[in-house]
């Protein structure tokens, strides 16, 4: 599946805000949108979800006109603050209930989906959402937002505010979702999500540019104003910016890379 954005210009009233954006998002990789606060990342998500309508240009899904209707889900920042059901099961199955599915279908689908999100139904179904840990709450919220399995899943800062274990669990689940869904993520911490086939849309002022992981890392190492990577990473890799296979921002990967370079 491929979601194509062609010449998208976003405006607020008479003011041109962002664009032209030309980008394509596919399944099978994580699509990351990166940029400064207020640069329009969340607005772009709202546009894709159909909430922001002031724009020109065209969006296609698999080369057909894309109309955001039942084929997309958008999860806002801190989604767990708006739980409105008493149990985890009720929260996650809510959208199935309002789609008039039969009770046994709802039960089967919800239990399957809870499992996908690492929340076994035997342990979690009857728990109160507000009694869970931060990482669990976040997973319940994301499970509830995606249970209709839309083709396009939009996530706004899914890892923010979680501890390291919560972040790792969640990024694994998101990676596995990306196999069959187009997953587009707005993030301030791309280094937590980046893997070798991530695709990055970088928003800088009114301009946008697409990067593969290697080009993004290489540019960021050379210019911390472009994107500030952690100091230890830049310090260790500044002599290898021209490498075609820079390691991702993890200690082990960097150690392996440096070892390989020494042996060359």
């Amino acid at each position: 599946m491929i979601l194509n954005l062609t010449d998208i210009n976003i405006s607020f009233g008479k003011n041109h805000f962002l664009g032209p954006i030309n980008a394509s998002f596919e399944n099978g990789c994580l699509n990351l949108i990166v940029g400064r606060s207020g640069s329009g990342k969340s607005t772009l998500l709202k546009l894709l979800a159909g909430f922001h309508k002031e724009f020109t240009g065209s969006i296609t899904l698999d080369y057909d006109k894309f109309i955001p209707d039942g084929n997309i889900s958008l999860t806002f920042q801190n989604p767990e603050t708006i739980f409105f059901n008493s149990t985890v099961f009720d929260e996650v199955s809510y959208s199935l209930k309002i789609s008039n599915l039969k009770e046994n279908e709802i039960k089967e689908k919800t239990n399957k989906w809870l499992k996908t999100w690492g929340l076994s139904s035997a342990l979690y179904s009857e728990k109160y959402p507000f009694n869970l840990s931060g990482g669990e709450k976040r997973r319940v919220a994301l499970a509830a937002c995606t249970i209709l399995e839309p083709k396009v899943i939009l996530l706004d800062e899914p890892l923010a505010g979680l501890d390291r274990v919560g972040q790792k669990d969640l990024s694994e689940i998101i990676n596995s979702l990306a196999k069959e869904h187009i997953v587009i993520i707005v993030t301030h911490e791309p280094e937590l999500l980046i893997n070798n086939n991530s695709h990055i849309l970088f928003i800088d002022g009114v301009y946008t540019k697409e990067f593969n992981v290697n080009d993004f890392l290489s540019k960021a190492i050379q210019n911390s104003d472009f994107y500030p990577l952690p100091e230890w990473y830049v310090e260790n890799l500044k002599y290898y910016v021209n490498s075609q296979k820079l390691p991702i921002v993890k200690a082990e990967e960097v150690a392996n890379f440096l070892e390989n370079q020494k042996n060359k």
Binding site: S37, G135, G161, D163, E231, A255
Partner: protein, 246 residues
């Protein structure tokens, strides 16, 4: 100095199992970045709320003394995790003014404080902008500006960098370091980001309602094991890996 003396806290006094904090004793000093870390749900935010007086300890005593500020407007301020919980004004200027207006200050004093706080966070030309137009990161910066305008003696930051972009994180730590050097405001930062640990001078590690570790960052670096849910920053891990190879 903030001193916790055998402080316990539980939400339901009748249930033994509901303890969030169990007789914890520790202290925070001004002139350093005090970090408070631990996994989700270990009691970090409870400590923050106890310090600013939003909660009262079930047992034990919390003492806050101030050796530097002669006449603070109030003692300690807090920046919540989610900025939307904290913003009350309709515009940036209104929000910074809100706390000040409640201290019965003259309008000159209020305007002076607003301008000082706004310029620290580059809001000086944005005072009339509605808060609804701000991004998540800008809202978080506004909350910090609104609290700093009150000139508190301590500020507890509850995961202040979680919604900031990486550029703003650098700015944030510059501001914090200035406050620490000037010793005007005591700083406690609650964080789960391993990268923030680099910025701490002292670290207090909380695990299941008990203090697991409370000492300097150098001593923390030497720890052999950490409680579940906490990790060393990737930079430290790399140092260790490279050392092992040698």
């Amino acid at each position: 100095m903030i001193l916790f003396d055998r402080v316990s806290f539980c939400y339901n006094k009748n249930q033994e199992t509901s303890f969030i904090l169990k007789e914890v004793s520790f202290s925070f000093k001004k002139g350093a970045v005090n970090g408070l870390i631990g996994k989700n749900g270990c009691g970090k935010s409870t400590i923050a709320r106890l310090i600013v007086g939003l909660l009262e300890p079930s047992d034990g005593k919390i003492t806050i003394t101030d050796e530097f500020n002669a006449k603070p407007y109030y003692f300690s301020g807090m920046i919540f995790q989610n900025p939307d919980n904290q913003i009350v004004g309709t515009t940036i200027g209104d929000d910074i003014a809100f706390g000040l207006e409640n201290f019965n200050l003259s309008s000159d004093e209020i305007n002076d404080s607003i301008n000082k706080a706004a310029s620290l966070f580059h809001f000086e030309n944005m005072l009339d902008i509605p808060v609804s137009k701000l991004s998540g990161g800008q809202k978080q910066m506004l909350c910090i500006a609104s609290v700093i305008a009150l000139n508190p003696c301590w500020i507890v930051f509850d995961e202040p960098t979680s919604h900031l972009d990486p550029w703003a994180r650098i700015e944030f730590w510059k501001i914090i370091n200035e406050l620490v050097i000037n010793k005007t405001i005591g700083i406690i930062v609650i964080s789960q980001l391993p990268e923030d640990i680099n910025r701490f001078d002292n670290i207090c590690v909380l695990n299941d309602g008990e203090i697991y570790f409370n000492d300097s960052v150098n001593k923390f670096k030497e720890l052999k094991s950490l409680p579940y849910g906490i990790e060393f920053p990737e930079g430290w891990k790399l140092e260790k890996l490279l050392e092992d190879e040698k």
